[in-house]
Each structure stands twice: as structure tokens, then as C-alpha cells.
């Protein structure tokens, strides 16, 4: 199934950030971020200075995609939780609303049990937010046929040439 374009507006973006911030604080995690299944980063909070979040997003999505493939091979729909344990840092990955990936990076200042507990609560919140986003997208699609004007309706060849001008 092809997923429709993901369009994110201010209101939902703020709600997502709030939810991630709460999760980071409650679980005592270093970094929490949200990626879509195609590897695009949606939002990230926490100690991000030293982290290449773009690469992290792409590799997480690749990891989840490969694991999904494995799941289907043995007749599972998906493995909804992945956990990678390191010497110092650990990564907890879970799938939200079947389309986005919630990643929590944490160290010895917290525990896997606490992270899992808090993640479960955050997932319920995020589920609701993504339902709203889907509903809004559906509404926009209807509006599109009437009066919605996409900011990209007027992209010109010159705009594109400029991107490659350096």
C-alpha cells in the first residue's frame, strides 16, 4: 500500500514535540525522535548536538524496513519493538500508528523497564495525534478540489535552476 504524502502543520507539530519532550523527561532518556517509515525525520528532542539525526533517521528506517521484511517472511505482520543494547547507550525503537517510528536513546541513568513503560503511554498520545493528522489530510484533499492553493502550485523552472546554481 502506498502511503499518502505526509503533511504536517504547526499545531500537530507542536503537539508531537510536547509529547516527545514529556517522554524524554519521564523516561530520563537522552534523545527521543520520531521518523517516518521512509527515513524522513519528523521531530527530535533532547541532547542533539553531537548526534547526526539525519543519518540516524535513515538508518533507523532501513533497520525497521529490514526487520519488517523478516517479520513477513515468518508470517508476522511486524515486529513492533526493536531494542539494541550497547555498552553505554541503548536504542529502543517502536512503531506508532503503523507508519511512524519512535526512537529513544538512553543510558545507565534509566532502565529498559521504565523506558518501555513511558513509551507505551507516549505511543497512545502519538496515535491520537496521527489520527488527527490523517483526518486533516483527508479534509484537505476535499478542500483541494475547491479552494486550497498549494504553495508549490507556482514553482517555475527558474526556482529549480536556482537550487543548482552554485
Amino acid at each position: 500500500m502506498t502511503l499518502p504524502d505526509l503533511v504536517l502543520y504547526d499545531e500537530e507539530f507542536r503537539k508531537i514535540k510536547d509529547s516527545l519532550n514529556r517522554l524524554a523527561a519521564d523516561a530520563n532518556a537522552n534523545v527521543v525522535f520520531l521518523v517516518d517509515k521512509n527515513g524522513q525525520q519528523i521531530a527530535a528532542v533532547g541532547d542533539l548536538q553531537t548526534l547526526d539525526t539525519t543519518s540516524l533517521a535513515s538508518l533507523t528506517a532501513g533497520n525497521v524496513a529490514a526487520t519488517d521484511g523478516l517479520a513477513r517472511l515468518i508470517g508476522e505482520r511486524e515486529f513492533s519493538i526493536l531494542f539494541h543494547e550497547g555498552e553505554r547507550d541503548n536504542i529502543h525503537i517502536s512503531i506508532v500508528a503503523q507508519r511512524v517510528i519512535l526512537v529513544v536513546i538512553f543510558d545507565e541513568r534509566t532502565s529498559l523497564g521504565l523506558v518501555r513503560l513511558r513509551v507505551r503511554r507516549a505511543m497512545a498520545e502519538l496515535d491520537r495525534i496521527f489520527e488527527d493528522i490523517a483526518a486533516k489530510a483527508e479534509k484537505d484533499k476535499l478542500a483541494l478540489t475547491t479552494d486550497f492553493e498549494s504553495p508549490f502550485a507556482e514553482i517555475t523552472d527558474e526556482d529549480i535552476d536556482r537550487l543548482f546554481s552554485e
Binding site: D5, L8, Y9, D36, K37, Q40, S55, G62, F152, D159
Partner: protein, 194 residues
């Protein structure tokens, strides 16, 4: 699947370089990486075997500037070209916005090119995309090799819908940015219709 973030005013697009094994997909990305301003690019990630064959994918994020006030990001991916990595190729095509087909110009690789285009068509269909409508660009790579077939013959055999076609020598960069620009143009123009 283009990701438009109105809150951060960003558009993210995914472009996949497809083609048979050793046709030069990774070399295309490597050249783009080497020639792009450090502030406009992220890390080039290569998931490769010890002998430098792509195992899962290469990934290069590019920040090209703004269009209509939106920061435009292109995420470039390559697929593993070797036939037996088909399951991985399917995964990478998920959410693709545009495809570059890199063909190996050598006579001995003609069949491999044709087979790979067929494989692309099949894998796109499985994801509910249609090769006839998706932004798509063809590149004849390795034009510098003596065994390269004439371009008109390659065009007849490999061009499927009069897509823009470019000659390239990826290690020297000839044709590399022209190819990227052509596919980026199609992807962005596609947004007009949304």
C-alpha cells in the same frame, strides 16, 4: 512520498538510484558528495560489504536551498544492484519520489540493464507506483569505456517513455549533476499538481 513540513517549512524528497550491479550508482553519489558544499550535505552513509559492494543502501542527504520559502531537502539513496538483493531493493523503493536509472553502457551489460529495468518496473508496481508516471531519468554511464555501445542503440533499447537521458562518466563527474538536476526538476514540478 514527499514529506511537507509546514511547521518547519521544509520539503523532503526521496530519490533512488537504480541499476544493475557495478553500473556506478554509488560512484554517482560519491561524486555528488565530493562536490557539494559541506554546509549543504550530510554524511554519506554506505552499507557495503568488505569488497565495497553495496549491501543494503547508500544514503546522502542534500540541502539544496529554498523554493517558495520552503527548505528543499533531497535524500539520495542507491539500491544494491546485484540480482539476489531484490528484497532489499524493494524496501528502498518505499516512499520514493523519483528514480534515476543508471545504465552500464558496455555491450556485455546490455542484458543486465534490460533485466534491471524490468525488475524496477515490477518492484514499483508492488508499491503501487507506475514507472510510466513516476519522475524518472535515464543515465548512460561509463561513456569513456571502449566497449561502450553507441548511445542511439542504448536509447532504442533502454529508453521507455522518452525520459530525459544523459551520458555520464561518473568518476569524473561528467553528466552526474545534469542527471540529478533533471530528476529533481521532475519531482518538484510534480508538486505543482498536488
Amino acid at each position: 512520498m514527499t514529506f511537507i513540513n509546514y511547521a518547519a517549512r521544509e520539503i523532503n524528497c526521496k530519490i533512488v538510484y537504480y541499476g544493475p550491479g557495478l553500473c556506478g550508482k554509488t560512484t554517482n553519489l560519491q561524486y555528488i558528495y565530493d562536490r557539494t558544499n559541506p554546509s549543504a550535505k550530510g554524511k554519506l552513509i554506505s552499507l557495503a560489504t568488505e569488497t565495497d559492494r553495496t549491501l543494503f543502501f547508500d544514503f546522502l542527504p542534500l540541502d539544496l536551498g529554498t523554493v517558495k520559502g520552503f527548505k528543499t531537502r533531497f535524500h539520495l539513496y542507491t539500491v544494491p544492484g546485484q540480482v539476489f538483493y531484490d528484497a532489499s531493493r524493494k524496501l528502498i523503493l518505499k516512499g520514493v519520489d523519483g528514480v534515476v536509472f543508471v545504465a552500464d553502457s558496455q555491450e556485455a551489460r546490455l542484458e543486465a540493464n534490460i533485466e534491471s529495468i524490468r525488475n524496477l518496473d515490477k518492484n514499483l508496481k508492488e508499491q503501487n507506483y507506475d514507472i510510466a508516471t513516476i519522475p524518472y531519468v535515464l543515465q548512460f554511464n561509463k561513456r569513456d569505456l571502449p566497449s561502450a555501445l553507441p548511445t542511439d542503440e542504448l536509447y532504442r533499447k533502454l529508453n521507455i517513455k522518452r525520459e530525459p537521458t544523459f551520458e555520464a562518466v561518473a568518476p569524473t563527474g561528467a553528466g552526474v549533476f545534469d542527471t540529478l538536476k533533471a530528476v529533481a526538476r521532475q519531482v518538484l514540478m510534480d508538486l505543482r499538481k498536488r
